[in-house]
Assembly symmetry: C2
Homo-oligomer: 137 residues x 2
Amino acid sequence: MEKTVPLSENIEDYLETILALQTQNTVARSKDIAEKLDIKRGSVTGMLKKLAARKLINYEPYGYVTLTPEGEKIAKKIEYRHTVLKDFLFRILEVDEARADETACRMEHAMDSQSFKKFVEFIATLDACPYRKQGME
Amino acid sequence: MEKTVPLSENIEDYLETILALQTQNTVARSKDIAEKLDIKRGSVTGMLKKLAARKLINYEPYGYVTLTPEGEKIAKKIEYRHTVLKDFLFRILEVDEARADETACRMEHAMDSQSFKKFVEFIATLDACPYRKQGME
DNA sequence: TGGATAAGTTTTATATGGCTAACATTAAAT
DNA sequence: ATTTAATGTTAGCCATATAAAACTTATCCA
């Protein structure tokens, strides 16, 4: 029985970013991770080592970074949450897109599985109520 | 023009806790703050000094803690968010109450004002759609 | 092929925030 | 009033995560 140490928001953000870069550019480079997360290259190296120690990424100094199956699983979970939350904020709440994106970025770490699952089901029910917006302004 | 340094989640949690204790017990004691936040008394003292330095609380060594108007404003904002989010999770999504509370605790820090405002408006529109749950068997 | 430049790394320092344990103060009980 | 227990504080340490700047390795290209 290994205790599952919860991943910090930070780690989730790194994994999500690496997944996005992998998808976009085939591989993730340190510099691009730094840019996306708006931090310095030196800080990235430190975290990559920690992620590798946790077996979430494959990492060799001066090499490209790829996600392990475990890392990818987590990254995809977060990516999915991001998509759902941003969509809710942008399309349903009509928050401006940039802000919807930023906010989704923070909310995606805050929900436990049960709550998120129920949230997804909830959103599906909204379609059954096309005139819901009547009451707004 | 002073730049408004954003408050950490942590600080928001302290303020929210102090408000709750103030309301419950008239006054907030270090020990109770520690208990509510599940940290040690010594850690609380350190943070109280920082909150006082930021003029968010009134603090004298060995004295009681009270919120300044500024601190109270923030605490009430967070408390309100907590209420709304927990209510949404518990009553609408039907997440179990304890989990709804925990999750609200995290989500309350993740939303910007615009998003939260629209979220509140959105929840209000749900009443206009009483049969929405049909699809959820 | 040998610089120049870009990318990656290392080291040192900073900030946050928690813990432990010893110490100080306050409050309660006898 | 004095002792005891509860509460609050201090000091030193640890972990996380970032920045700055110097250094190393790769890459490009003339």
